[in-house]
């Protein structure tokens, strides 16, 4: 039995002034993540301060867009979808969805790559992942 991931309507992210550059980049097809310039470590979700030092010495950098599934579930609703944690190759584990595949074949440890998915009402696209 196959459970194709639904092309559900995705609510537009509510942008705030601090994270606007992240959403602008997403509109331009780029997937950015936070980087703490004090420690060199990447972080998620994007924000104006470092979750490692609290300083505002942070930047947004383009991620490779590849990673590994750390955990996932399949919401068995009329529109099946798969909220998941993906461990990015840069390190952070991020909350996302696994999309564009048969959800019954998804496995923890599987390699995935980013897909920027359009959202409702012309909102910025959001980073989801599909098996490589």
């Amino acid at each position: 039995m196959a459970t194709q991931a639904a092309n559900r309507a995705i609510p537009a992210p509510k942008e705030d002034p601090t994270t606007k550059p992240f959403w602008d980049a997403a509109r331009a097809g780029k997937f950015l993540i936070g980087r703490c310039k004090d420690t060199g470590k990447h972080f998620w979700y994007p924000r104006g301060c470092s979750p490692f030092t609290l300083s505002n010495n942070v930047e947004l950098v383009e991620a490779k867009g590849t990673g590994t599934i750390y955990s996932f579930t399949v919401m068995r609703s009329k529109e099946p979808h798969a909220p998941a944690y993906v461990e990015l190759d840069e390190g952070p584990r991020i909350f996302t969805n696994i999309v564009d595949c048969d959800l019954d074949t998804v496995k923890i440890g599987q390699k995935v790559k980013v897909v920027l998915k359009a959202t409702e009402e012309g909102g910025a696209p959001v980073p989801m992942f599909t098996p490589v």
């Binding site: 959403w23 909220p83 998941a84 996302t96």
Partner: protein
Amino acid sequence: MSINGAAYIVGAFEHPTRKAEGQSVAQLHAEVAYGALQDAGLSKDDVDGFFCTGAAPGLGPLNQADYMGLTKLRHVDSTDMGGCSYVMHVGHAAQAIKEGRCNIALITLAGRPRAEGMATGTVPRSWAPNIPDDPFEIPMARTVVTSYANVAARHMYEYGTTSEQLAWIKVAASQHAQHNPHAMLPKVVTVEEVVNSPMVADPLHRLDCCVISDGGGALIVARPEIAKSLKRPLVKVLGCAEATKNQAGGQVDLTYSAARQSGAAAFAEAKVTPKDMQYASIYDSFTITVLMQIEDLGFAEKGKGGAFVADGNLISGVGKLPFNTDGGGLCNNHPANRGGMTKVIEAVRQLRGEAHAKVQVPGCKLALANGIGGLLGHRHGSATLIMERE
């Protein structure tokens, strides 16, 4: 500064309603407050400390206190850590009493999500405006059930935990609920019935999930001299601690909960160990929530919780760790989507010897209540309370 022995739980009341079509949220708070005061043998003008959360209407210490006519308050605390807040509030009340900031603390919880038709666990929702993680998680369909399901999936992957093992938690709760005339789900279920119930979010089935209910509860915490002047059995606060766990900038680890920290701190303050506990109220929003706490509180080794809960080990009179003898959130109620209050109340019943005769732990002297608030797979709090019958 330790709160061991600084305060006693002198009053406890659980609202009997499970669907409050005829009462407002403020009125439910008033009814549980009155019930707990009656239980203690006190009246509302004895209350000089008031504890509530965002579940109380408006600014609780102002609007809800006003509704109830609490005019003698000199200490208020509306610290909100979701469903575990009321476990934590017992500790905060003991601290305030120890410092002389109040003598008699009232803690209330009430709500009516069922009457309001709230899709508590399966619809993405924001708690409030301007939450910085919402833009990154609401589009991802972050719901209560998908957050906990991710934890369960990782636990199964890491430790080989099975759906049948999780199902035993529900089975034990249902064994207890059959004796509770107020329980929403009083029917005894089997492991097979749990694992064959519809899948909601893999690996959590419908019967791995708690009920949605209205109602509430209240507690009265008082200083020792006052407790000893009242006529109720003495339930002493031995230790209480809280902890939080969040995403740490993306360093997510779903294999343990904040109960690891809150539990260790509370046991140290109480000067007892998990092995000493004769009864435990363990927050049961989902079966996986219970499993995680059982490991993180030290009742079982990490990864061995599945084996620990199997074969009826949580059933009173059968297993080693009687839990949630009122049927818990899985079978009895989960008022206002916040289960911490009823966790403390059932522990108090056990320590007083006032639980249902079929589930009462004989000579129950030491008990624990643990709560988990927020989303276990995203950011959550844990509060641990240890109590002794004196």
